[in-house]
């Protein structure tokens, strides 16, 4: 569905993405993980076309996305920090986005709107909202148009446990429909039960991209968090699917 080919992005001297290649398919729930500044958000923004990579190609359904915008019709995006025009109300923002996406007649998925009880807040000004409520608005907007791809940047940050649970259920339901879901997060515990694949970025490099089952098997850890920690400690990149061997035949990048 989405393929990333040799993407490089430099901010001044710093590599945010350094020759990253990967492809994502329907039915996958990919957890993009890595420390702060590892390039997760840059990768997501590159896919969305908000950041323009210096090199490489990103394809969406086979089409290169550079200078395209129509493909975003199939993406629901929930930003890390949702920022909205200050003097609009929640209702106006939602109406505006509906109006712009203009898929008249298309089915709108208002499930989150209801489960977050957002109708009661529609008249509220964006300026007066708490961080959590803004996140809820972002979530509502991301799922509203029933898109094939969901890109969620730190979706649970700032949400209360109840809201997190609702979101998790929603993601689960969308996963069941066979959608592609990309989630960045640095805390995994919330979402590891949803994840089908793990992508690990560090210093702009792709260190690891593997199905979670394989990963658990390779590291011998049953919990995702610990499996990742094991990888981080080892300082290696791709783990080879050789049963029993945890660390073998690795390319060493950093001492």
């Amino acid at each position: 569905m989405i393929s990333v080919e040799h993407i490089t992005k430099k901010f001044k001297k710093l590599y945010a993405l350094d020759d990253v290649s990967a492809s994502f398919h329907k039915g996958q729930v990919v957890s993009l993980i890595g420390p702060n500044g590892s390039g997760k958000t840059t990768l997501i923004k590159s896919i969305l076309g908000i950041v323009q990579p210096d090199g490489g190609t990103i394809r969406f359904s086979g089409q290169a996305i550079s200078n395209q915008y129509q493909y975003r019709d199939q993406i629901g995006y929930m930003p890390q920090i949702g920022r909205y025009p200050d003097n609009m109300t929640i209702g106006q923002v939602i109406d505006m986005i509906k109006n712009i996406r203009n898929n008249a007649g298309a089915r709108l998925d208002e499930e989150l709107l209801e489960s977050y009880n957002m109708q009661a807040l529609l008249g509220k000004n964006m300026r007066s909202l708490s961080g959590g409520t803004r996140q809820k608005v972002s979530a509502v907007l991301a799922f509203l148009f029933d898109p094939d791809v969901l890109i969620l940047d730190e979706p649970t940050a700032g949400l209360d446990p109840l809201a997190t649970e609702i979101l998790k259920d929603k993601i689960m339901a969308e996963k069941e429909k066979g959608k592609l879901i990309l989630i960045t997060s640095h805390i995994l515990s919330d979402l590891d039960e949803l994840t089908t694949d793990v992508m690990y970025l560090q210093d702009g490099r792709l260190r690891l991209y593997q199905p979670i089952e394989e990963l658990k098997e390779l590291t011998g850890e049953s919990r995702l968090g610990r499996a990742i920690a094991a990888v981080m400690k080892s300082g290696y990149t791709q783990l080879q699917p050789t049963p029993g061997a945890i660390i073998k035949n690795m390319e060493v990048h950093y001492a």
Partner: protein, 255 residues
């Protein structure tokens, strides 16, 4: 395009700055027309407002608005909307609301008190300068990294076009007064939209004096409608070229 502009307009109208600007212009225009028993004298004073205040307000307001709309722009970027459309909508919304202010604040009093060729030329020039300086402000804002720098650049540009440029021209004209400078002078004034607007107005106000020029170039320029058409044409370029450059770099920009 217009759909998005509507939201931009809506946002601007609610900010009240535009209302203050309208009232400011309206107060000055009406006061001038009532103070002077000769309406054409009031028009002379309005000319300075048009040549100085309109560019200044247009630039500063457009710059601030651009940075204040960052959230809106961000939100739009993740939607299936082209970048060109986003920026053009912002531009049209801003330029249209500033022009509307000008037309209400200056245009209506002029139409009421002094509806003649000079009055209409004044309205045309003011509107053209609004579009031009909004366009310049957008280009500066797209290029500048942050708001403070953006406003700084806008003020510098205004200062340059309103005052410094004419000083330089005067210096050149005196330094090379022994040479035939007809064409050069005309070319120099084309490089400053404020000067061009002023000349367009002078063609209506001071044609008697302008015809006192000895050079044949001037006589052709001032004596026919060519002068007016030429200055309007170049003004149009002044509005479109910076806007085109702004769109071009906005399309390449990371946001």
């Amino acid at each position: 395009m217009l759909k998005l502009s509507r939201y931009v307009l809506h946002d601007i109208v609610r900010s009240k700055v535009i209302l203050a600007y309208t009232l400011f212009l309206l107060t000055i225009s009406v006061t001038l027309f009532q103070m002077e028993d000769n309406p054409s004298k009031a028009l002379m004073s309005l000319l300075n407002i048009v040549l100085i205040v309109v560019p200044l307000v247009s630039m500063v307001f457009a710059t601030i608005h651009y940075y204040n709309s960052y959230e809106f722009i961000e939100l739009m970027l993740s939607q299936p909307v082209s970048r060109t459309r986003i920026l053009m909508s912002e531009y049209l919304g801003t330029a249209a609301s500033l022009s509307a202010s000008f037309l209400v604040g200056v245009g209506v009093p002029v139409l009421l008190f002094n509806l003649d060729e000079v009055g209409l030329a004044l309205i045309t020039t003011g509107t053209a300068l609004t579009f031009i300086f909004t366009s310049l402000a957008f280009y500066a804002s797209v290029l500048a990294r942050d708001k403070a720098r953006g406003i700084g650049v806008a003020l510098m540009l205004w200062f340059y076009f309103a005052l410094i440029y004419d000083g330089l021209v005067l210096t050149i004209l005196f330094a090379f007064s022994d040479y035939p400078l007809e064409q050069l002078t005309l070319a120099l004034s084309s490089l400053n939209p404020v000067d061009l607007g002023r000349i367009f107005l002078m063609l209506k106000m001071d044609v008697s004096a302008l015809m006192g020029y000895t050079g044949a170039t001037y006589k052709d320029f001032f004596g026919s409608s060519f002068g007016a058409l030429y200055s309007l044409g170049i003004l149009l370029l002044w509005a479109t070229i910076p806007l085109w450059l702004a769109v071009r770099s906005f399309n390449k920009k990371d946001l």
